[in-house]
Symmetry: C2
Subunit: 343 residues, 2 copies
DNA sequence: TTGTACGCGTTATCAG
DNA sequence: CTGATAACGCGTACAA
């Protein structure tokens, strides 16, 4: 029975063969449900992502599934649509399904609400906390002191010791972006897509600090939804400012926004990158196929998913996993950035 | 106990309240695992998609998850990467997890292999069968008789009576596309992205039949991988033919391909749509933000996912679900198509 | 090395 | 209307 099929050492070869033959004849399939009931732990992990329509999260999910599948785990999937209420509900469902671990990607809500304030009894790992802040944080991120911004970010995403985290280095990525533009000679740089969510706060902060470091004035920081439409609209507005205030480069919150930015810039008859450089963030698949192809910061999405699953697995094995990883981005040079006009 | 929490009719209000109070005090959570063991059916469905990175399947998945979640079902998710071998393996895993139903989207393999030739004991629904054909089918789809092509498609995707199907009307969609171009005055129309997979065979067939119906000559049909890179390369090749043979419009296999096609056309200094119309298929999110925005056929992806889940649910309830639905597309007019030059 | 109870947390059934 | 009890299919500990 169990021993034969599971490859227990203390079982005669002949017996094992007989059992296996019988199993095949009846096409016996071990029942994961019954197994989970007795072992008190299923081989399933819960994965909560904001939206499977978004290829960014789709690739994180692919990394998670890949690593899970290799370890013979299954993954239960749910979209949170960035709604804290749905996050809570789906976590509840995962718990009722007795998952062996939970991966929460792009979390919008507060960790305190997820487990009714108690320590969860399964490992939990956070991927790229996208916590939303009250809108009153937008002015702070623009002009508040860096200390104040960082304090706000930390306060809103402070986690109990029970959560591991795999997060992208948004601050450092934004700094890389600005340094690249500065090295090309840009001196008036704007940011499009500021929003009261964690990664945006950090990217704007990186934007500001790199500008400060280069001794350049702070450019315009405009808000917009994270979408081509949002970037398009916000850039339309931006471009109506007096000509001598016009930036020579625009840092977009992400690639989707950047694509809208480029379209708006083109709509004003301005060449990219001849007269205006545009830079994205994420390196989504389309980034390479916009016109012009987008210079951007690549997030190791699939790797982040794999790491999240790996973290769950090592927690399950009782190894004390690394608490928290901050992954660096990589600047991908394409053709949407170049020297400012007249250089 | 059970009766009180589940809202059984035959239980006194006072008793129910007492039970509920106790449940809350011990924060009791009914264990889905144990429940599944005794009821012999879990509230989980298996969902197999080719790739969660692809926003097309991501949206189908979103529809499935949405409908599942509304019906208090969970979804187990796996990527098949279009590998028949992986399809088989993941289906096996789903079965071992005792799922209540299985949704197979973009199936690449043959249904016969999925359940060892036996009837599955859970409802199964197919979404958009992407079955691969031997490469020798490419010439057939270009020049073979329509009957022969249809026969090939049917043979490779014939399903046992146990499978429901939700499939898109690829043939009709391609006909709509060509009719649109014909109505604009185009007479030389090419197809880029033919491949030996089911939807491609049907789209090429629709392309051919609509051309025939309009009394126009059959244009070039070139093969390419379904990606911007593929479309770009194939179009580069196409545009090197003698100028008087040049088409005035290109039908791309899908939007991703179309974006590569447009880039190649632009790279040859040809204006879209002034000198060349390009039309896509699917209406992915980026279609609206390519330059120029892509005219395309919209597939009701989310709705297809919802229908798949609805079909599973009605099978579970024992209702005899509709065997098979063929969903029509919708032409989305944007700016990548226009009259041919000189009209 | 192998056979055999027992119990995991539910639901269903049957007797009170 | 309610309380007790027998499965569900597996892993495991203990006896043979």
């Amino acid at each position: 029975m169990t021993r034969a099929l599971q490859g227990h050492p203390a079982v005669r070869d002949e017996t094992r063969r007989k059992v296996e033959a019988a199993a095949r004849r009846l096409d016996y399939r071990p029942d994961h449900i019954a197994r989970a009931l007795v072992t008190r732990t299923s081989s399933t992990v819960g994965m909560l992502i904001p939206s499977s329509v978004d290829s960014f999260w789709g690739e994180v999910a692919a990394g998670i599934e890949e690593a899970a599948s290799e370890a013979n785990y299954s993954v239960l999937f749910a979209n949170s649509h960035s709604q804290p209420e749905r996050e809570r509900r789906m976590i509840e469902v995962f718990l009722a399904q007795r998952v062996a671990g939970i991966i929460i990607a792009g979390a919008a809500g507060e960790s305190a609400s997820w487990f009714c304030g108690e320590e969860p009894d399964v490992p939990v790992v956070i991927v790229n906390w996208d916590a939303a802040f009250p809108a009153r944080f937008v002015p702070i991120v623009r002009t508040g002191s860096p200390q104040r911004v960082l304090k706000a970010v930390r306060a809103a995403t402070e986690t109990d010791a029970s959560f591991s985290q795999i997060v992208f280095d948004d601050l450092g990525g934004a700094q890389q972006v600005v340094r690249h533009l500065v090295s090309l000679g840009h001196e008036r740089i704007a940011f499009v897509g500021a929003e009261p969510i964690r990664p945006s706060l950090l990217r704007v902060l990186g934007f500001r600090s790199a500008l400060l470091e280069a001794g350049l004035p702070l450019g315009a920081i405009v808000s917009s939804p994270r979408s081509p439409e949002g970037g398009f609209q916000a850039t339309q507005d931006l471009l109506t400012s007096p000509p001598d205030d016009l930036p020579t480069a625009i840092v977009a919150y992400d690639d989707a926004t950047a694509i809208g930015v480029i379209r708006a810039v083109h709509a004003h008859g301005i060449d990219v990158p001849g007269a205006m450089s545009v830079i994205g963030f994420d390196d989504i698949e389309m980034a390479a196929f916009s016109e012009p192809p987008l210079t951007t910061i690549r997030q190791p999405r699939r790797e982040m998913g794999r790491m999240a699953m790996a973290s769950i697995l090592s927690s399950i094995r009782g190894e004390s996993a690394q608490r928290s990883s901050v992954l660096p981005g990589e600047l991908v040079l394409r053709r949407s950035t170049g020297p400012p006009p007249g250089r």
